[in-house]
Subunit: 414 residues, 2 copies
């Protein structure tokens, strides 16, 4: 077990993540078939092919009149071409038939003149603009050709994808099964939300915060509750989690004298056990990563801000991988730092900032430099800046990349 007291040797963030990913067996993506109406936000687990052409026939792309392009050559507002209106199925030379967006093109025509480029006169229309053959026509198969892949696997389905899937006639789709993540909080000082804490007790917020992060990604959670700082109780809960879920996240176990309790318990549960303990990051240094029964166990600090950062750095990529997603970065924005922030050489610092826009430029204001235990450092922020290990800080005015976890200019920022 790569264990330490006082964390004299820390593992780098990238090295720690690679160690975990490398020690896990290649992920098998489990898919489930769901009704299309339940697929919003899920990750597509199949390449969706078009069975036939979309559109299945040539159709008008605008509201107007179906005509022969050649009948409009040289038309202009000063020299309009007059065409006779017909209701017949087929349209003859120097004839036009009214047509609406999406309607099939009648036989005999090859273009559509938009309503606004015409004027109705008696039984005919004046056309004010010349058309080229095919103009304002959606050709059969123009959207998707039969046999073509219309949507690739690993797409996270948004409203526009739902529309295309429905148009293709899909009523059920294969999506990645939601990974199940078990959540355990440990610590004698913790009480359940809703209980009035005694002096020196603390309400456990980590299961709710991390469950919310899981839900946002598309994972489900299993609540293992709170365990006392007791090796047997912790071991039993983690085993329950391993038996039911795809991975376990444990927070806490840093009460006086219990700093290594959770990693010690986990390391005795099987091979390879704890593969990283102590990561060169802030917050989140006491993080440990383990694999038991081929499943990942994330042992994160009890401090909620550090736990959320640890989740972001280690659990988030793993959950995405279980969904088949190689990378789903948060929205990023480049912004100018409003003040210098010092950091420690050799540590990757996750600096919470509030990004705001002023006259078209983005600025990032460090919310607070110290105090990683302070939850308002996250609720007053909308993103974080990564200060790399080889820097002793970031300078005032420096352009930094902000990873956004909340909106810019959101109403909720006090």
């Amino acid at each position: 077990m790569a264990r330490l007291r006082g964390f004299e040797k820390l593992t780098g963030v990238d090295e720690a993540r690679s160690a975990l990913m490398g020690a896990l067996k290649p992920t098998r993506i489990v898919s489930v078939q769901v009704p299309l109406s339940a697929a919003l936000g899920r990750i597509l687990a199949e390449n969706v092919m078009a069975e036939g052409d979309l559109p299945p026939f040539d159709r008008s792309a605008v509201d107007g009149y179906a005509v022969r392009a050649q009948d409009t050559f040289e038309a202009s507002q000063f020299n309009p071409k007059t065409l006779r209106l017909t209701q017949e199925k087929g349209v003859g030379p120097r004839e036009a038939r009214q047509i609406w967006t999406g309607n099939p093109m009648p036989p005999g025509v090859d273009a559509v003149v938009m309503l606004e480029h015409t004027r109705r006169i008696g039984e005919g229309i004046e056309v004010w603009t010349p058309l080229t053959p095919g103009e304002n026509v959606s050709r059969r198969g123009e959207d998707v050709k039969g046999g073509e892949v219309a949507l690739k696997a690993v797409t996270r389905l948004g409203p526009h994808h739902m529309a295309l899937l429905a148009a293709l006639g899909k009523t059920r789709v294969d999506v990645a099964k939601k990974p199940l993540v078990a959540l355990l909080s440990t610590g004698n000082e913790l009480v359940e939300p809703g209980r009035e804490p005694e002096p020196h007790q603390v309400i456990d917020v980590n299961r709710l915060a991390l469950a919310s992060m899981c839900l946002e990604l598309g994972a489900e959670t299993l609540d293992l509750g709170i365990a006392r700082d007791d090796a047997e109780e912790i071991g039993a809960k983690i085993r329950e989690g391993l038996g039911k879920a795809d991975g376990v996240i444990v927070t806490g176990g840093t009460s006086v004298g219990y700093a290594d309790l959770v990693p010690t318990v986990v390391d005795q549960m099987g091979k390879p056990g704890v593969i990283v303990h102590g990561v060169a990051m802030r917050p989140g240094m006491p993080t440990a990563l383990a694999i038991i029964e081929g499943k990942p166990i994330f042992i994160l600090p009890g401090n909620p801000v550090a736990a959320m950062v640890g989740f972001e750095v280690f659990a988030r990529p793993l959950i995405l991988k279980l969904l088949g997603v190689e990378n789903e970065p948060r929205p990023m924005v480049k912004a100018r730092l409003t003040q210098r922030v010092a950091s420690t050489l050799g540590r990757r610092v996750f600096l919470r900032v509030k990004v705001f826009e002023e006259e078209g430029d983005f600025f990032a204001e460090p919310v607070r430099v110290t105090g990683s235990g302070i939850l308002t450092t996250m609720t007053k922020a909308n993103g974080y800046v990564i200060i790399p290990e080889n820097r002793e800080g970031v300078e005032q005015g420096e352009v930094v990349t902000v990873h956004l976890f909340d909106r810019i200019g959101g109403a909720g920022i006090v």
Copy 2:
């Protein structure tokens, strides 16, 4: 009724939106109380006050030893200060007590030295760094002071807000009631998803696409189904929607000869009726906006791309307003256009683009300039650029603002 045939007079987008918003009564935000565990993604409808201080006592912000700062003055690695370890409740001069992140500060001390700045020697520790009073201590009330507003109303609750609410002891919160939006598709050519379309029939995709857009915003939907191009049937369905929902969205009614059917039906239902018909935008020109019984009715084109753009421009701001949200812009990015795109003076064009990053710079590639009926213009895009009315196009190389509706570099983009 501001009605037109051939849309000879179009209303500007901003004017149309203002006309709708101005004619609606000031929105009363309806709130509901939900368990905190069900509040993720909802819009907070109350200012949440802290009842007591958070943290409720001075506590350590790090893992280390609680000490008196004055005992460490002038300490350095070459001149360490030696302190005696104690397990007593109170800590005396030249004494230190082990402490973990989040633990209450024992009486008698005013600072915490981090583990890594110390060395254990027998019954004591060597301290290598001088501390100032208060160093590494989270003061009582430092996160939130009792009586202070910790989170403002209209915050869309993310995981970090959930953590803060739980820490404040909240188990239930007031959130904005989900607006109920009724969705109706009209058109003789439409068939339900799952039905094999006959030649010249079209699968209705609009209700699913718009329902998905509603869900993403936090609204619920009522499915009114498909109505034939029949005034009575359309009227009955819309009346059902008005009776049950906060607003109605109707798409279609643009089959041959039925261009004005839905606006005509709606306009006869009450006052003020249709207030806008024909908007100077592309796609989405045939859009009509109405108010009946004080509720908004959005009459959008049957073309799914135009319907989605019409939703984005008119229904989205209204739904947000019902949630109490004044403005929730989509993520935006500035990008350089890869090719010139022409547009019509006097029309606001919503140009679908695919944003990609190359060597740190963002580029926006127009997915397709024409063919607004083509669904893949949305699934191949990840955002849109607004070409304003006073422009005849946007130039190659021009820096444009892209409103993102999907990820940059997402896997799903074919």
